[in-house]
Symmetry: C2
Subunit: 363 residues, 2 copies
DNA sequence: ATTAGCACTCGAGGCGGTCGAGTGCTAGCA
DNA sequence: TGCTAGCACTCGACCGCCTCGAGTGCTAAT
């Protein structure tokens, strides 16, 4: 049951207006700015019908209409205009990535920062799919006489450096042997496959038990998503710039959600397959008591490997066209970055080439 | 020019009341609850005098008095009652530290979390004095054919693992040699001493240039306090529970300050020598435009080495006795933790032994 | 199907009045 | 000289009332 194109136009007008002004719109205003060929009375009739259908509501009798979450869904799926980044926005993105990028964590932070800066919303970025990474080598490095550092190298990058204590004492030979045995035992496996430490341990001498236990513990913690350090939020304070959080109670609920950022991970992990994800309101009431909001994320990948997600979190009323174009462009930029491990090189600015070379300035 | 003990009692009453209720106090109330031997009229005279002296103000004519920052300073320095932790609070601290503590970062996070939970304020913890750490060894670990991991071990713990790319190719021998030369070149020096890379580099073969440059870059970044990852905030949302930030503009200013947490570092680094630090309002207007607030921090150390600070940030009106007792106790607890590198051992609960075994419950 | 016209609704905001907590001041008392 | 009782005064908080105007729903005409 499709809506008439006139109804769709009206919904688009209401959503557009609300995104920009955060105010209800009246029938007269719709007529003047979007549908001058009709009278306000006709539009009123349509508005009443759309309200009946669940797309619009009025805050109180005798006020204009505002969109429901349903109207937003229709908007982002069908009605929304596609826009491109302005020159200034492109410049901002380049500025963040046109510098030394030595570690994967830096990419994470840069991504979050630039998204937050351009959209003026709170942004979130996190690494995922680490449990799918394939272990390449395991290195055991002597730190002190009784402690070693364990470095696990995967095709996603360095996984984690854990330390283990070796009561019997550490020698260089011990480390070399331990590295060899560990690599032999774990190499070639995915992180998620490591569930049977005993089997593995039985295959090697007992003297490496401590190290193996530590490795398994680290891997398991990744496989079970207990690691919270790899989620980054930027611009939490920006949430307060949104008029919907002018109410202190709502602002507080939102900030508490952001404070417990690890709780966001399961929400973000929904719809893993989509390259672009838009969760609106009731959709993400996975977490009960979660304040009304929308989350827009995009998957991003380096060298073709999907390494994480980044996006924004904000009120349902957000500038979806802008957010989506920003996420899209940043995804492309990141995908062209050289391998994060590779160290010191300067990254060339990535050109955003499309059919139209000149990005339109919206407005 | 000391104040009369009666004046001091009145200041204490005003501050106490304001800390608990965040409301002005009237002369009658002071009489009833703190100085029943006097009449309210006498107290009014004293209040007027104290207002003249800059310790008190009234929000408007015909309202009670509230303390100025000056009154708070007097309060924390002289008047404040000392209290001890309640059983519940002790239990909370133990719960956080009575678990595996494998890395220094975990201590940092746990400290921040427990402080925030007990005080119900936003807490801050950060590592400092890294530039004073003495480099023990430098390890170069082969990751791929063209990339190595550099691990710098100091007496404060592992400093940083950076990666460097080696265009000429990496072999195990190369790494072993590089480790030996790097340790030779940097070992025994403080992080802050590494300022002349060229001199150092000239002493070794050119093939290690890439590695040495990376090491120097890492060390310099620490020496110049460019590293921001080692400051942790917990409970940012709790700032909104304080009535002084019920005003949205103030709340926003505060949250923006917390968002840019690296900007807090210079503020925290003042008065480095003090074991306990209380910054109130004008004191920390080092950062101009910084919202009115108070910061209370304590230095903490592991194995006698001062490794950082932790504390709270909140409105000037905060429960100083509670905050100070919490920071004091946590400092003692951390100091008894085993060396962070040492890995896997379970930490025994640390008992808080004092003359009085039973901590008083403060009302 | 659309539209002009009109009565109706309802929140925003200004105004005035009451209430009461708390003060400053003055005069009197020890 | 220091303290206190008494009293007039101040001022924000709160309440109810009113007006204003934007915007609607409905009806009748085209």
């Amino acid at each position: 049951m499709g809506l008439s194109s006139r109804k769709e136009k009206i919904i688009e007008a209401v959503v557009d207006n609300y995104i920009n002004k955060c105010e209800p719109i009246s029938s007269t205003e719709i007529r003047e700015r979007h549908l001058p060929s009709l009278s306000s009375a006709t539009i009123r009739n349509e508005l009443a019908a759309l309200e009946e259908m669940g797309y619009l509501v009025q805050p109180h009798t005798s006020s204009g209409r505002i969109p429901t979450a349903e109207a937003y869904r229709l908007y982002v799926e069908k009605l929304m205009p596609r826009r491109k980044l302005t020159r200034a926005e492109l410049k901002t993105v380049k500025r963040y990535f046109n510098r030394k990028v030595t570690e994967i964590d830096d990419i994470l932070k840069n991504t979050a920062k630039v998204i937050s800066e351009i959209t003026n919303l709170t942004s979130v970025a996190y690494l995922q799919n680490i449990e799918e990474a394939v272990i390449e080598t395991v290195k055991i490095v002597k730190l002190t006489d009784t402690a070693v550092l364990i470095v696990i190298v995967t095709d996603h990058g360095i996984l984690k450096d854990a330390t283990a204590s070796i009561p019997s004492g550490v020698t260089e030979e011990y480390c070399a042997d331990a590295s060899r045995f560990s690599t032999e035992a774990f190499g070639g496996h995915r992180v998620s496959e490591i569930y049977k430490p005993k089997k593995l341990i039985n295959r090697v001498r007992r003297e490496y038990e401590q190290i193996f236990n530590t490795i398994v513990r680290v891997l398991k913690s990744y496989a079970h998503e207990e690691i919270v350090s790899d989620i980054v939020l930027e611009g939490s304070a920006k949430i307060l710039e949104q008029p919907e959080y002018a109410n202190l109670a709502k602002a507080k609920a939102m900030l508490e959600l952001l404070d417990a950022k690890e709780e966001l991970i399961p929400v973000l992990q929904n719809n893993d397959d989509m390259s672009l994800n838009i969760l609106i309101s009731k959709d993400n009431e996975i977490k009960e008591g979660m304040p009304e909001c929308a989350i827009v994320t995009a998957n991003y990948s380096v060298n073709g490997i999907n390494i994480g997600k980044a996006g924004v979190i904000g009120p349902i009323r957000m500038d979806y066209p802008k957010v989506i174009s920003v996420l899209d462009y940043i995804g492309k930029t990141i995908n062209r970055l050289p391998e994060p491990q590779s160290g010191d090189g300067n990254i060339e600015a990535v050109e955003y080439t499309q059919n139209e070379p000149d990005p339109e300035n919206s407005e």
